[in-house]
Each structure stands twice: as C-alpha cells, then as structure tokens.
C-alpha cells in the first residue's frame, strides 16, 4: 500500500526548487505596471478546516503573501480553566482539538499526574493507549478524506466517515459519548471496558486491515490527478521544518524521525513495538503516505494492547479532593496532529493557577505563511491538508 507511487530520482530532484522562484520580483512588477489583488479567504468558507481567515495577496493565480488570522473560535479555555477544579477541566480539554479528544485529555491528565506524582495502574495505562490509538485512526482517516474533499473529490470523505462512525460506536459503548468522551481521568480511566468491547475492537481492526485498500486507498493513491495535485506541492525541507517547530506528520514527512511516543515515552509505549513512519519527499503526497503508514502502525499497536492488557484496577486510590501542592506539571502526548503538551501551574488550591496548552495545530499553521507564497491559489488547499489543523486546536 505504501510506496507504490514514489517519485523517481529525477522527479525528486526537480522538486527541490522552492516555489517562491515562481514569483515575479516586485520591481519587475512595478515596471510593467502590474498590480496584485488583495483577497480574503474569509472565516466563512466551506474548506478552511474551521474558522480561519487567510489574507492573500495574489498576482493572478499565484499567491504572493499569505497571512493566516486566527481567533474566530477563541473560547478562553485557558482562562476558564483557572476557575474550575482540576477534574472539571477535563471535559474542557475534550473540546480543544475536537478530532483527537482522547489525546487532549491524556495530555492534561499526564500534566496533573506529574504535579501529584501518582502511579497509575497498568490496566488503566493500557486502556488509555488503546483509546488513544483508536482515536488516531479515527482522526487520520478523515484527515485524508478532508484532503480529498478540498481537492474536489466528494466521495472519499464519506467512506472515511464510515470508518470513523465505527470507531465512534466503540467509543460510545465504552465511554458513553460519541465525541466528547470525558473518559481519561486523573489517576486512571473512568470505568473499565465493557466485556464485549475487546472482541468488537478486534473485529473492527481486522475488517479495516482487510478492506482499507480496496475500499478507500485505491480511490486515492494511484489517481493521476491526485498525484499531480499533491506531488511537489508544499515542499518542506528538514531544516525549515525543524526551525519552525513543526511536529507530527508535517515534520515526519520531511524525514525527521521525531515521535513523542518514542523520544519522550509516556504511558506504556516503551512496552509496545511499532515504527516511526517517515518519508523523505516533504510534500503533500508524502504527508498522505505518512498518515496512511501511521494508521497501519496504530492497528499494530491496538492489536498488541488487546493481547497484552493485564487485569486489575482502572483507577488509582486518590482522595475526594484533588489539591496538589504548589508546583508545575508538564505532560506531552503525540496527538494525530503533532505534539500536544500541557503545562499546569498549581498554587495549592482546588483550581489551577495557570493552564497552558501547546497545541500542534497552532504551531503547524506557521507553515502556511512560510510555504504558500509562490504556489497557485488552488494549492492552498492541499497544503492545508498537509498541516491538517483543527480550529478548536489553534484557537483554543
């Protein structure tokens, strides 16, 4: 499945020319009396992954300048968290990056457990990892669907959402809600898995492995139009990606093998075997391949979790009140979009003094301002598919 349509050597070397070489120099433009158009791809737009405003300066079809303006979905989550008790902040973290809810909860809970310095029972850790990897599947497959939707193909997204619906029904049976789970708690998880769930997850994962190619990937991968619209578009180099602080698939598609699950391991990831998926091309097609590869690795992790999960309690013995001592806690997880980190500062009371979320969508959005100039206007959409931001994430 992976790597069937890799570019050849000459094609790969032809891609290293930056897109800005296509831009006309400003003095040349003035000499000919040409002007640029200022356009606003506004917050109301069907394909902006949320409420994002892009201020574009166009020279015909070529983008000269692209400035993202964020803040249209800002809900003051970090400020509100200062007035809520520690357990009551968890449902709010659900709503940050609403395509990767489990990871947000996990990040916050890791930060608070760092503050409290408590030990989480192993069964709870395995359940957390299982839920997070299912969430990763439920996030990457629609990401690819959204990429195709913005390229103009309207069907892959519906096939993707069919898979996501299956994951969501598993989540509903386990946690009680389809999207805002509020399941990972400080000290463990809320409740144990219902007895029929491991069987259901096995069947889902095997079904996905068998049908993924025929149902979904075949519609996308070899498609010549898809290749010509995504190969060479949004070209990133390793230095630039590291300099901008990107994490997640945008970073790994350039070849840097950085994954929080391996480099700063948390939970039970050290006991599981999986690979970091990287690709060297650094363009939108490479990020597509990285996401497909990560789906396959997630399936591998889910199978290992289901086999290795121990019996036991799912919640640590904590008191009724969660009132940590003064100090700081830091937790970081590998969400489907990159590194999601939470910094909690406590002043000894029931509520945090400060909660700060380092959201991957917010940081990865820098890509738009740096990489888009020089590309054509229709190329903005695949580049947003490379970043795959979620508006709850960048705006909090």
């Amino acid at each position: 499945m992976l790597g069937e349509q890799r570019p050849t050597e000459e094609e790969a070397s032809a891609l290293t020319e930056p897109a800005t070489s296509r831009l006309m120099r400003p003095d040349v433009r003035d000499e000919f009396g040409l002007e640029t158009i200022d356009m606003n791809m506004g917050p109301q737009h069907p394909a902006m992954h949320g409420l994002l405003r892009l201020i574009l300066e166009l020279d015909g079809e070529t983008v000269v300048r692209c400035d993202p303006v964020m803040g249209y979905l800002h809900r003051c989550q970090e400020k509100i968290a200062e007035n809520r008790m520690y357990p009551a902040v968890i449902p709010m973290t659900d709503r940050l990056d609403y395509f990767a809810n489990m990871h947000n909860e996990h990040g916050y809970v890791l930060a608070v457990e760092d503050l409290l310095d408590i030990e989480v029972p192993p069964r709870a850790e395995y359940i957390r990892v299982l839920m997070c990897e299912l969430m990763r599947l439920a996030s990457h497959i629609p990401s690819i669907g959204f990429l195709m939707l913005e390229l103009g193909a309207f069907t892959p997204i519906l096939y993707a959402f069919r898979e996501r619906e299956r994951v969501q029904s598993i989540f509903e049976a386990v946690t009680g809600a389809r999207m805002m789970f509020h399941y990972i708690r400080i000290g463990g998880v809320k409740a144990d898995l219902p007895p029929e769930i491991p069987e259901q997850i096995w069947k889902f994962v095997e079904n996905l492995e068998k049908n993924f190619k025929g149902d979904f990937v075949d519609l996308i991968e070899g498609n010549e139009i898809f290749i010509s619209r995504t190969r060479g578009v949004g070209q990133l180099t390793q230095e630039k990606a590291v300099e901008m602080g990107l994490t997640g698939p945008p970073l790994r598609c350039t070849g840097v093998d950085f994954d929080i699950r391996i480099d700063y391991p948390y939970s039970v990831y050290p006991e599981l075997t999986f690979d970091i998926v990287t690709d060297t091309a650094g363009d939108v097609e490479a990020s597509y391949r990285v996401r497909i590869g990560e789906c396959l690795q997630s399936i591998r992790i889910i199978k290992q979790c289901l086999e290795k999960i121990p019996e036991g309690a799912v919640m640590a013995e904590l008191g009724r009140r969660i009132r940590p001592a003064e100090g700081e806690g830091f937790g970081r997880v590998e969400s489907p979009r990159g590194e999601f980190a939470v910094h909690v500062v406590s002043d000894g009371s029931d509520t945090p003094y400060r909660v700060h979320y380092r959201d991957p969508s917010f940081v990865n959005m820098q890509l738009l301002q740096e990489i888009v100039p020089g590309h054509y206007l229709p190329d903005i959409m695949p580049i947003m598919g490379l970043v795959d931001p979620v508006s709850g994430g960048w705006d909090k």
């Binding site: 158009i37 069907p46 079809e61 195709m148 193909a153 069907t155 519906l158 206007l377 190329d379």
Partner: protein, 337 residues
C-alpha cells in the same frame, strides 16, 4: 385532425410551438438531472439521495423549484445590474437553442438545417461569454477569478472540441446531424466511436470541460473560491445558471450520442423500433449523462495550469495527428468509404 396539424405547421405557430417544446424539454431535463445527480451521488456515497419528498423522493425537483421561486434574488450593491442579470440568460439560451437541431428520431428534428454542426459550435461559444458576464458583473474578487478561469477554460477547450468533430465530418461527409446519424448505420460496430476512438475520448473530455464539471470545475471551484463566477447569485438567477449547466450537460451528452454513438440508430438491426427510435437516443444520452455524474463523484479536480496543459499539450496534438491518420486512411482505403 389533419387540417389542424397542417394549420399548426405554418410558420408562426410552428416556430412558437417548437420553441415552447424545446423550453419545456430543457427545463424539465434540468430539473430531472438535479434529482438524478443527487440520487447517483447518494448511492455512490453509500447513502440514499433525497427520499422524503414524494414517493422515493421523486418530487424533490418540484420542491427545489418552489423554494427557488420564493427566494430573494440578492445582488451585490456595487454590481453592474444589467450585466449581472443578463449573465444567466446568456448562459441558458445557448444551451437551450442547440436542442432545436438535434435529431431525436428519423423524422423528429425541429430544425433540419444542413449546417447543424457549425450551428452547434457557434452557439456554444456564447456560453463562455455568459460566464465572463457573471463574474465581471458581480464585482467581487472571487467571481473575477472564477470568470477569468472560466473564460480561459472554455475558450481553450473549444479547440479540441471542434477538431474532434472534424473527424466525424470527414467520415460522414456532411455538417448536418441528420446525415451523420444516417451515415452511422444500424450496427454498433459501424458507429463512429470505434474508428474515431481518440476523437471520441477527446470530444468527451472536452465536453466535460465545456460544461465545467469536475474534474474541470475550477471556475466554480467549490473549495477555494466557493462558487466562483456564480458566488453572488441566489434564488431564481442561480436556478437559471444551474439549469443552464444541467441543460448543457444534457446537450453535450446528446451530441456525443448523436455524433459518435449513432443517435437514434439501434445497436443491432433487429432491435429497430421504427418511429420509437427516440428511446434508443434517450438511452444513449442517459448513459453518457450517467458517466458524467460517475466521473464527477469519483475524481478530484485539476488545477488551472494542469487543465490548460491537458487541453493544449495533450488533446490538441492527439486530434491533429489523428485527423491526418483518418485522412490518410480514407485516401488509401477509398473502396471502404
């Protein structure tokens, strides 16, 4: 009865009746096509299309039309009103007018002119004008981009469209649709899509580009320039633009069927239905419309430079070279033709 028909066959009545018949056909076709499109898209996307209004959703177009009649026709404050309102008309009338020359059945053609192909080419070029009027009259950046893309695309793809028609003209020796259909014979291996296969495919692809459907719907570009040239239209003006789009889709299918698939000719002689051969014509047109829709819901759209590359660098050379091959073949194999 005979005298009534004879009376109606006289000039003013014949013209008015045929005009009315064409409008009736085209508008109903547009409405039915919207429904067919939504049902086909639904089934491809693993869902039912509209199935609430009427039995199995068949009254959905009626509900849509009713809604669009009652909606306000918004126009931007600084738009050029005459150009803005004239654009849907300029897009719809060409799509409707060419139906006058299409042969549905051996005697059923409303205007049997002997330069029908030329008429078709001339009138569809006006569609490009309609797109530019819509985009320019709206005075908005998105519509300007859509209009420029639309103009470039429609004008570029007329060249392969016309060149691929020349193959048909050479083989049949006439510019009239009626003659082309008659020359294709009533067996499917003598229809023109086999000897002229590259021409058929080029005409088909250029047809999709002329109608501005995915993968060539960049003028409308729903993901980047939301609506493109028709972004400022709503209510009945928008409905007229959509009707124009679906009518031209039907028109392209009908002309492809006429020129390359034998028009009203049955695939095998014993399946000839005499005066009811319009059933074969309808079947072929519906088949091509279905493939238009199938393609629309399967593949992404092309970017502007790729689209122009395809038109100028791939389709035009193919048609030119194949024209030479057909001419050479006709010269060498004179006894066959």
């Amino acid at each position: 009865m005979g005298t009534v028909l004879q009376y109606l066959d006289q000039e003013p009545f014949r013209f008015l009746l045929s005009f009315g018949a064409v409008l009736f056909l085209v508008l109903n076709l547009a409405a039915v096509l919207t429904m067919a499109e939504r049902k086909v898209s639904g089934y491809i996307q693993l869902r039912y299309g509209p199935n609430r209004v009427g039995p199995r959703g068949l009254l959905q177009p009626a509900a849509d039309v009713f809604k669009l009649f009652t909606k306000e026709n918004v126009s931007p404050g600084r738009s050029d009103l005459w150009v803005f309102l004239g654009a849907p008309i300029a897009m719809f009338l060409p799509a409707a007018a060419v139906w006058l020359v299409i042969p549905f059945s051996p005697d059923a053609v409303i205007a049997n002119i002997n330069v029908a192909i030329l008429f078709f080419i001339a009138i569809t070029s006006i569609g490009a004008l309609g797109v530019v009027m819509a985009g320019y009259g709206s005075r908005s950046t998105f519509s300007l981009l859509g209009a420029l893309r639309g103009a470039a695309q429609m004008i570029s793809y007329e060249v392969p469209l016309i060149l691929s028609l020349l193959g048909v003209v050479m083989l049949s020796g006439s510019l009239s649709f009626v003659d082309v259909v008659a020359a294709q014979g009533d067996t499917f291996w003598t229809w023109y899509f086999l000897p002229l296969l590259p021409m058929f495919l080029t005409f088909y692809v250029s047809g999709i580009a002329e109608v501005k459907r995915v993968p060539f719907d960049l003028p409308e570009g729903e993901s980047e320039i939301v609506g493109g040239f028709m972004i400022e239209y709503s209510g009945m003006t928008w409905a007229l633009i959509q009707a124009a789009e679906f009518a031209s889709m039907g028109l392209m299918s009908a002309i492809t069927a006429t020129l390359f698939l034998g028009g009203w000719q049955p695939p095998l002689p014993f399946l000839d239905l005499g005066a009811f051969n319009w059933i074969w014509f309808g079947f072929k047109t519906a088949l091509i419309m279905f493939t238009f829709q199938w393609i629309r819901w399967s593949i992404p759209r092309l970017r502007m430079d790729q689209l122009m590359d395809l038109g100028w660098k791939v389709l035009v050379p193919i048609t030119l070279i194949y024209l030479l091959i057909v001419a050479a073949a006709m010269l060498i194999l004179q006894e066959v033709f």
